[in-house]
C-alpha cells in the first residue's frame, strides 16, 4: 500500500473513531450511571443482534453562529439507520444525549428525515428514540423548521407505515409533537414529556411541580393518556417495541406475520369467569386470555381509561385487535377517555388491516355534567365513527349488558359489524328495566291502587321480555346466540370466513372524524 492510500485510510479511521466516541468517555459514563444506554447501544438492543447499519454517520451542523463551528460534533447528536426486527427491515433514529444534549438542529433533523424517507420508500416501520434537551437555540428558526420537517413526514407516513416513538429521557416543547403524531409512544420510568417545563410553569402560573409530576411516565400512562406503554428501563422498553412490532404488518400494503401459536381452547372456563348475575363484576382480561391464543394478549394503554381494555392478540396465529368493556372499572361504562382510547386503537387497526374483535358488556354512557361539559357527545361520536368507518373484519360478542347508545357504539350490526354473537345471558335493550318502567309505565303505576305492586309487575314483564338476546336475534341484530364453550371456535371460524372481506368506502379526500 502506498503512502497516499495509508493517509487516506488513517483519515477515514480517525473520523470514524470520532463518530463512535460520541460525547466522550465522561458523558457516556454519566449516561450509564443514570441507568441509561447510549444512542448506539439502544440501536443494538432494538434490532436483531448484529443487524444495525448506520447511515450518514458524518453529517455535521453547518452553523457557525455563537462559536458553534468550534463545538460541532460528527453525527450531530443523533444516530440513524436501519436493521432487522424479527427478520424484517425497520428504520430508526436515536438521539444521542452525550452529544450537545441531543439537541435538534438543522443537520440532526435532516438525518432523521432521511431515515424516515427511506422507511417510506421501503414500506417499513420507523422507530424514533427520543433523548434530547430540545431545540438547538444557537440554530434559531432553522432548528424549529427541522421539527416541522419531521412533523410533516410523520403525518404523511401516518397510516402507511407503523411509526413508534420511544421516550428515554427529556422530550420537551416542540419535540413532543412528533411522538404525538406517531402511532405509539413508549416511555421509560425516567422519561419526561411536556410542552412547557416546570421552570416556565412556575414563572407563568406560580405552580411549583416536579418534572415527574408534570410529565413523567406515570402521569402520561394513567392520567393524560399520551403514552401507551411504560417500562422500567431501556432494555425492557426496547424489548416492548420489538414485541409490539411482532403483531404489525410492515405497512398498509403488507400482511401481519401469521405465527402459529398453541391453539388451546379455554372457552369452557368462560362461564366460570363471567357471573350470570349482571350486577357482579369480573376481570374482562381473563375472558380475553381464554379466547385468544395462549399468552398472546398484549395490552395497550393498560393504566388509562381502564373501563375499556384494548390490545393486540393472536387467534390461530393471526393478529387481531381486541376491544372489551371492563366491568371491573366504572362498571364498564363508556366515557370521554374510554371513547378516545378505543377509537384511536380501532383506527390504527383499520389502517393496517388488523381484524377487530369486540367483547361487549356495557351498561351505558356515564351520565353527569362533568361528562356533558367535557364533550362526551363529540368524544363518544369518535367511537361510532371509528367502528362505522373501519372496513376490516369486525366480529362482536355480546357477553352480558348491551344497553342504549352504548350498545350501538360497541360495534353493533347497524354500524357495520360483520358477525355479532351473543351469549344466552345477554341483555340487549334500549335501557334498563327500572328506568324503562318509570317512563312507559308511568300512567299505569300512578293509576294503580298499589303503585309498588304495579311497578313490580311491569318490571317483571319488561325484564322477562327484554333481558335476553332473543329479540335482537329475531330482528337480525345478533347473528347467533352461542354457548360460552363455543366462543373461541365460533369467533375463529368467523374470522376465517371474513379473510376475503372486500368492502371499500366511497372515494373521498378523507372523512371528517369529530375531533
Amino acid at each position: 500500500m502506498d503512502e497516499l492510500w495509508k493517509n487516506s485510510i488513517d483519515r477515514l479511521e480517525s473520523r470514524r473513531e470520532a463518530v463512535l466516541a460520541a460525547g466522550g468517555v465522561e458523558r457516556i459514563a454519566k449516561q450509564h450511571a443514570s441507568g441509561k444506554l447510549t444512542a448506539r447501544e439502544r440501536m443494538e438492543a432494538l434490532f436483531d443482534d448484529g443487524t444495525f447499519v448506520e447511515l450518514n454517520d458524518q453529517i455535521t451542523s453547518r452553523c457557525s453562529d455563537f462559536g458553534m463551528d468550534k463545538k460541532k460534533k460528527p453525527g450531530d447528536g443523533v444516530v440513524t439507520g436501519y436493521g432487522y426486527i424479527h427478520g424484517r427491515v425497520a428504520f430508526a433514529s436515536s438521539q444521542d444525549f452525550t452529544v450537545g444534549g441531543g439537541s435538534l438542529g438543522e443537520a440532526q433533523a435532516m438525518k432523521i428525515c432521511r431515515a424516515m424517507d427511506k422507511a417510506m420508500e421501503m414500506k417499513a416501520p420507523f422507530i424514533s428514540i427520543n433523548d434530547s434537551g430540545g431545540a438547538r437555540i444557537e440554530e434559531g428558526i432553522d432548528s424549529l423548521t427541522g421539527y416541522a420537517d419531521i412533523f410533516y413526514r410523520n403525518t404523511i407516513a401516518s397510516g402507511v407505515i407503523p411509526q413508534i416513538s420511544v421516550i428515554m429521557g427529556p422530550c420537551a416543547g416542540g419535540a413532543c409533537y412528533s411522538p404525538a403524531i406517531t402511532d405509539y409512544i413508549f416511555m421509560t420510568d425516567y422519561a419526561q414529556m411536556y410542552i412547557t417545563g416546570p421552570a416556565v410553569v412556575k414563572s407563568v402560573t406560580g405552580e411549583v411541580i416536579t418534572s415527574a409530576d408534570l410529565g413523567g411516565a406515570s402521569v402520561h400512562s394513567s392520567t393524560s393518556g399520551v403514552a401507551h406503554f411504560v417500562y422500567p428501563d431501556d432494555l425492557s422498553c426496547l424489548n416492548g417495541v420489538r414485541q409490539l412490532l411482532g403483531y404489525l404488518p410492515q405497512s398498509n400494503e403488507d400482511l401481519s406475520l401469521n405465527v402459529p401459536g398453541t391453539p388451546v381452547d379455554n372457552s369452557a372456563a368462560l362461564s366460570d369467569i363471567v357471573p350470570a348475575d349482571s350486577k357482579k363484576a369480573y376481570d374482562v382480561r381473563n375472558v380475553i386470555n381464554s379466547i385468544v391464543d395462549a399468552g398472546s394478549f398484549f395490552e395497550v394503554q393498560e393504566s388509562f381509561a381502564r373501563n375499556i381494555v384494548v390490545g393486540f392478540a393472536r387467534l390461530d396465529g393471526q393478529s387481531i385487535g381486541v376491544i372489551a368493556n371492563q366491568a371491573l372499572y366504572m362498571a364498564g361504562s363508556l366515557e370521554i377517555n374510554a371513547s378516545d382510547k378505543a377509537s384511536r386503537f380501532i383506527r390504527f387497526c383499520d389502517c393496517f388491516d388488523i381484524p377487530l374483535l369486540t367483547l361487549v358488556d356495557v351498561p351505558a354512557f356515564l351520565p353527569g355534567s362533568q361528562q356533558e361539559h367535557g364533550g362526551i357527545i363529540r368524544h363518544g361520536a369518535k367511537l361510532l365513527y371509528a367502528y362505522s368507518e373501519a372496513t376490516v373484519p369486525k366480529v362482536s360478542l355480546i357477553m352480558r349488558k348491551a344497553y342504549g347508545g352504548a350498545y350501538i357504539a360497541m360495534n353493533s350490526k347497524g354500524t357495520g359489524a360483520d358477525i355479532v354473537y351473543a351469549w344466552p345471558i345477554a341483555e340487549i335493550a334500549v335501557m334498563g328495566g327500572s328506568g324503562a318502567v318509570s317512563i312507559i309505565g308511568k300512567k299505569a303505576i300512578e293509576a294503580a291502587e298499589d303503585p309498588a305492586a304495579k311497578r313490580a309487575e311491569l318490571l317483571a314483564e319488561y325484564n322477562d321480555k327484554f333481558m335476553n338476546p332473543y329479540i335482537a336475534a329475531e330482528h337480525g341484530y345478533v347473528d347467533e346466540v352461542i354457548l360460552p364453550s363455543e366462543t373461541r371456535s365460533k369467533i375463529a371460524e368467523a374470522f376465517r370466513m371474513l379473510e376475503t372481506k372486500d368492502r371499500t368506502l366511497p372515494l373521498k379526500k378523507h372523512g371528517n372524524i369529530p375531533l
Binding site: H86, A281, R285, N289, G295, Y329, A331, P363, A364
Partner: protein, 128 residues
Amino acid sequence: MSKYRITVEGKTYEMDVELIGANGAVVAPAPVAKAAAPVVAAPKAAPAPAAAKPAEVGSGSVTAPMPGTILKVLKATGDSVKAGEVVLILEAMKMENEITAPVDGTIGSLNLTEGSTVAGGDLLFDVK
C-alpha cells in the same frame, strides 16, 4: 414452562410456551434479554385481582368513581383493613361495584349508610 425451537420461513426462533389455567390466568414469564420472536408475546402482567380500584385523591382517600347508591357498608370508622379488602358496595351503572381499601390501615371518615346516594368524586372514606 417448556422451551420450543421453531422455524418460520427459514429463520429459527426459540420460545417459551406455557399453558394457561382453567381460570384463564396466565403466569407472566420474565422478559428475556431480547424478544426472540413474535410468536408468543410475553404477557406483561397477570390480570389484576377482581376488585374495583377506586380513584385516589390522596394517600388512602377513596372517592366515588361514579354517581350511585350505597348498597352495603361492610366496615365502620375505626375498623382496621388490609389493602384490597371490600369496604362498601356502590350500586351504580347497573353494577354492584366493590369499593376496596387502597392501603392497609384504619378506616376514617366513613359516614355513609345503606341507601344513601353519592356523586362521582365524593369522598367515601379514608384509610390511615
